[in-house]
Amino acid sequence: MKLTLKVWRQHDASSEGKIETYEANDIPQEASFLEMLDIVNNEIIENGGDPIAFDHDCREGICGACSLTINGVPHGKESAITTCQLHMRKFSDGDTIFIEPFRAKAFPVIRDLVVDRSSFDRIIESGGYVSIRTGSAVDANSMPIQKDAADTAFDAATCIGCGACVAACKNASAMLFVSAKAKHLNSLPQGLPEKDRRVLKMVEQMDKEGFGNCTNQYECEAVCPKSIKSELISELNRQYATAIVKKAIG
């Protein structure tokens, strides 16, 4: 395959970026999107140029490192996958492909296609955990948990923290990310004691980081590589309202 790439290049956080054009030749259809970029980078290096920086690690859709906006869509237009799982057989010979970083105020660009998503870590740090000390747990089977509740918690817990939901949202809202963690922990008995505190703290931190609010467009759900449902956002809103009221009336 022969492709034309329009790639966002930016030297560092403080410099201005721009789109540059690259020709990608002899790309095998079986290659993954990131392998296509490897091939292009190899050619750039051998011609004395500066290779394109992008985040990636596991290359099997689970670590959440890869973060490209491909033709305007985070992780590309195929549903329920990450960029590293996208394969070139989904493109046609002669295509022009725009490749940009995940864009959001709370995800500043570090270089080229690499962004800083440490704001997500700080949201988890604010309350996305169960406060249990190592060694203090009771026997795992002493607390039966309904299979449905465990499955629901699992579905929410599959979030890989990639940030596609934020990049797809016109408000750069992190509501899907926050609601997934809230759902995971709040739907299990282990997470209940800290439920209200968790919701209040995580939402407060999300606002502090500069993420926008949800206006119910659900682009987040459409691009989520783990198919996390936007209905979790309404549930988070309900939990937040309850927690605020409980806090107010004491």
Binding site: D12, I45, D57, C58, F120, A140, I145, K147
Partner: protein
């Protein structure tokens, strides 16, 4: 067998019966009172299951922890990619499991090349891990009654594997990550993401700090501590193509080795039998399909070469060779990994492989789909089937998967004693980065168990034994050893960016990987290993003359990061091949073609084992090889002879 004398440092294995060793050791271990713990600084390198859980636990106890990872977030460590599950001797299934049985299975699975006391402790602690993770909110699979579900894994005849669909590693890592974030929030941990350890600082013979490169700004900085914990994973990426994440590397462990730490058993590398086959030379990594698939999938190849190239459904049942079920009737498709991998290689070498290039075997779910229905199979393996479909474009519900072995895990690692401390005092090594628990072959679902055992439960009990002898806070980064280490690191970086050669870092890595896979992969022999040892220096020489690292070192430079790692992989490959050459026996993941059972052996004629199975030589090789690298780079072999007091050394058979 007569017990021989080891020349490695004392492994500090407690005396007494094996069931009582860990309890005794905990009782005999030093304690540091809570008010004094905060005076000690502990460096943890790596934030996966071992590092993340250790950092969180030590911070809970009151130590000051500095944790480093190369990823942009500790949540992305490669433990996240583990699919199938985690073993624990809970015996919730009432199928005869016990700590003793998990211990025995692990020793046998490791082909009698691991330390009994360490393995027994691992089996003991396994139960606490499940309790801990459930309490954190890890959503393990459950039965309708609300209790935890289990599945089977290779090398075991009981169901002891706890799982969270095909994403067990992810869920366990998020548990450890959340505990880590909790401690960051509480002020006990300083987290350094996008930071790569480039050197270990040794002061008066003790590990007292590290030198780190900030991967965003390029800044080099020193960090002092009272001890250093490495939890930096394995070295599978020496083969270039492996199932490891692209960033996984041997740098921290290898640089500790250069500062004096013994590297043990590097030749024990695990080739996982069920990975998606290689499809072309552009390929950047291989993808694992969980071993759990072998619970319901049947592995086969055509019996006759005239069926090669036909679609699977056109090959009659009678013309299929379900070779694992045929050769290992008791374990069938759940034969351990080393055995399943070698069997796949055997049939492919015999020209019966399927798919492109004949390097593949079928993993077929047709029978299970017929028995249980598509929905049940999908609920068990849905995400794995989807992953397969995305990569290959083929639908595993309607045609068998094609799989082939790939490098996946490395049992070898830095030598540690029972306290998980290396021969360099103060340097502790956890998880895949140490050598201690899996012998020559790791059983499925045991990596997660070991990482969490080391991090949550072992190191917190053993670390005070070292710390109590040290004066906290006595080390400062102004000491000359830090300046020297920084200078070494800067020199190497400057050298790499100034070569300006014609070849990319990746091209060297691929060349090295192909050579090591070819000569030191699934099967090894003396001639091949000697050939590799002749060729590696030539690769190194060209690398240092002709590698191209564009840009400079004062900002994010991904080629520079890779170049440092590949430079170490080249040196490490020599260590790997030397170890494989010296170990003149076959055991577990190390298969030397010269040492296999033939039809003339009594074990074969009696039907106990098969022709072509690995042949150990206990009398000469029942030891842990601990390689000491001298100042001038030459290697010196130390031996820790293994003592088997509870398990009888036997030829491993899964028939």
């Amino acid at each position: 067998m007569t017990q021989k004398k080891s020349d490695t440092p004392d492994a500090k294995i407690p005396s007494g019966p094996i069931e009582a060793k860990w309890a005794k050791h905990k009782m005999d271990s030093a304690l540091i009172n809570p008010a004094n713990r905060r005076k000690y600084t502990v460096i943890v390198v790596g934030s996966g299951l071992a590092g993340g859980s250790a950092a969180a636990t030590l911070s809970e106890l009151g130590y000051k922890v500095k944790c480093f990872c190369y990823q942009d977030s500790p949540r992305r460590a490669h433990s996240i990619a583990a699919q199938g599950g985690i073993n624990a001797a809970k015996n919730y299934q009432n199928d005869g499991d016990s700590v003793n049985r998990l211990f025995y299975d692990t020793i046998k699975g490791g082909d009698f090349r691991s330390r009994e006391a360490n393995v027994y402790r691992l089996a003991e602690v396994s139960e606490n891990i499940i309790d801990q993770c459930v309490a954190q909110g890890v959503p393990f699979a459950r039965e309708y009654g609300g209790l935890l579900d289990n599945r089977s894994f290779g090398g075991a005849q009981v169901k002891r594997t706890f799982y969270a669909r095909g994403q067990t590693g992810q869920q366990l890592l998020l548990g450890a990550y959340q505990a880590l974030q909790k401690e960051i929030s509480a002020g006990g941990i300083e987290m350094y993401s996008r930071s790569e350890m480039l050197d270990l600082v040794v002061i008066n013979g003790h590990a007292k700090g590290i030198v780190v490169r900030d991967m965003v700004s390029g800044e080099i900085s020193s960090h002092a501590a009272d001890c250093v914990i490495l939890a930096t994973g394995g070295y599978s990426n020496v083969f270039f193509l492996s199932t490891n994440a692209k960033g996984c590397n041997v740098m921290s462990a290898y640089r500790a080795h250069k500062r004096g730490a013994y590297f043990s058993n590097p030749c024990y590398t695990q080739i996982h039998p069920t990975c998606i086959p290689v499809s072309g030379d552009y390929q950047s990594k291989l993808t694992l399909m969980s071993e759990s698939l072998r619970n319901d999938g049947r592995i086969w190849v055509p019996k006759n070469s005239q069926d090669i190239g036909k679609p699977a459904h056109q090959i009659a049942e009678a013309n299929r060779d379900y070779y694992l079920e045929r050769k290992y009737p008791s374990f069938g498709n759940l034969a351990p990994r080393d055995i399943a991998s070698r069997s796949a290689k055997e049939v492919c070498d015999a020209g019966l492989g399927v798919g492109n290039g004949g390097l593949g075997v079928y993993l077929d779910f047709a029978d299970s789909i017929q028995r249980f229905g598509k929905d049940v199979i999908s609920s068990r393996y849905g995400n794995l089937f989807q992953m397969y479909e995305k990569i290959t474009g083929e639908d595993p519900y309607s045609q068998p998967m094609r799989i082939y072995p790939a490098v996946h895990y490395t049992m070898g690692g830095l030598w540690v004693d029972y306290n998980l401390m290396s021969n360099v005092p103060g340097l502790h090594v956890l998880g895949e980065a140490n050598f201690s628990d899996h012998g020559a072959n790791r059983l499925g679902a045991s990596a997660l168990m070991q990482g969490l055992a080391d991090g949550y439960f072992v190191i917190s009990a053993t670390l005070p034994n070292y710390l109590v002898e040290e004066t906290p806070g006595s080390i400062s980064t102004d000491m000359p050893e830090f300046k020297e280490a920084e200078e070494r690191v800067r020199d190497q970086i400057n050298r790499l960016v100034s070569i300006n050669g014609n070849r990319s870092v990746d091209s060297f890595h691929r060349e090295l990987g192909l050579l090591v896979w070819d000569k030191c992969g699934m099967a090894r022999n003396e001639d091949g290993l000697k050939e590799a040892l002749e060729k590696i220096p030539a690769i190194r020489e060209e690398f240092w003359e002709n590698v191209c690292v564009p840009g400079d070192s004062g900002n994010m430079n991904q080629e520079l990061e890779k170049a440092g790692r590949v430079a170490d992989f080249i040196d490490f490959a020599e260590l790997l091949c030397n170890d494989a050459l010296h170990r003149e026996e076959s055991c577990g993941g190390h298969f030397r073609e010269e040492y296999q059972f033939t039809k003339d052996d009594p074990e074969v004629s009696s039907g106990y084992t098969n022709e072509g199975e690995a042949k150990r030589r206990d009398e000469d090789f029942a030891y842990v090889a601990a390689w000491n690298r001298k100042e001038d780079g030459t290697l010196n072999l130390k031996k820790e002879w293994l003592e088997f007091e509870n398990v009888k050394l036997a030829t491993r058979t899964y028939k």
